[in-house]
């Protein structure tokens, strides 16, 4: 079932990523981690569908936020991040997906690991936790190329400042800020062992990013004692404009 969403706010997260807020009058609500399909139809009738993660927590006002990263060769993301204007209407289908979700009934420690724009569905989980007052302990390990590529930095800072049960660790792969505790580099086995919940706490782990990132991180998590059934993944590949 397709619903019509009206663009009510636009916000640039980075030089290449934009958050789009839709107002969807009959939006049924969602869980953190779910996504929506977006259908874009050109004036000549050609239409195409892409899937994007929801960034916002569920809200009662029918608003849904997506953060879209612009892919230079993408068919849809350049339109969504550069041309879409306030008041424009798009077709949305969702919320979609019942596996890569965090539900407020979950009280176990939660380990979130994001690669680049893989932060988006994890941010929805963090915002859902904050808006519902959940006491579940959350840890986020967020891998980005460079400081300018971080989404939601101020909000993550504010949330973790006022709540010690939310711990945020950044990993910079190409350029690290001067005050970074470690030089630029990819997530490795040591970093997973030292900056994620010990496996004996039986955390549920959510890993989202490009497919090679998810493959290597899931491998490190398994190697440090996390059961495969405690690791949930969402990969995005080179095919679509996903995220």
């Amino acid at each position: 079932m397709w619903r019509v969403g009206t663009v009510v706010a636009l916000h640039d997260e980075t030089a290449t990523a934009r958050t789009i807020t839709f107002e969807v009058p009959d939006w049924p609500g969602h869980f953190g981690g779910q996504h929506v399909d977006v259908r874009v139809t050109a004036p000549d009738g050609y239409s195409t569908v892409r899937s994007y993660s929801i960034a916002s927590a569920p809200s009662s006002d029918g608003r849904v936020e997506l953060t879209v990263e612009r892919l230079p060769s993408g068919e849809v993301s350049p339109y969504l991040t550069q041309e879409l204007a306030l008041g424009d209407r798009l077709e949305l289908r969702g919320p979609i997906g019942g596996w890569f979700v965090w539900r407020t009934q979950q009280t176990e420690p939660i380990q979130l690991i994001a690669g680049g724009s893989g932060i988006v569905p994890l941010m929805s989980m963090i915002r859902t936790r904050a808006s519902t007052g959940s006491a579940a302990r959350f840890q986020l390990l967020y891998s980005v190329r460079e400081p300018g590529a971080v989404f939601y930095r101020d909000e993550l800072q504010a949330l973790s400042d006022k709540d010690r049960s939310l711990i945020v660790t950044y990993v910079y792969t190409r350029v690290a800020p001067a005050n970074s505790p470690r030089p630029p580099g990819r997530i490795d086995a040591d970093l997973i062992a030292n900056t994620t919940w010990p496996s004996k706490l039986a955390p549920t782990c959510y890993v989202c990013g490009p497919t090679p990132f998810v493959e290597s991180v899931a491998g490190f998590l398994t190697a440090s004692g996390n059961g495969p059934n405690k690791i949930r993944t969402e990969r995005f590949g080179p095919t679509g404009d996903r995220k």
Partner: protein, 90 residues
Amino acid sequence: MSSNSYDYVDGNAAAGDLSKIFAVDVTAAEGQCANCGTIKRFAEAHLYMQSPGIVARCPVCEHVLLRLVNVRQRVLLDLRGMTYLSLDAA
């Protein structure tokens, strides 16, 4: 099919197309691979979307679990790669 190729995403990504056919969310359902017997959530399958439709493969043995192709006004669904799907009916 090289096990080193990264041209797949997760079964999650098929949720939109499958929602056109099934009344409940299939990606959270458990399915058994008809080839190796692995039981996993459909969301954990490897999904290949480069073809005219979508192909889901077992993440353990890469056997084809599901094929879904849109041809004009029809949807062709091939589920022979799974012995069963266990769905949450609640």
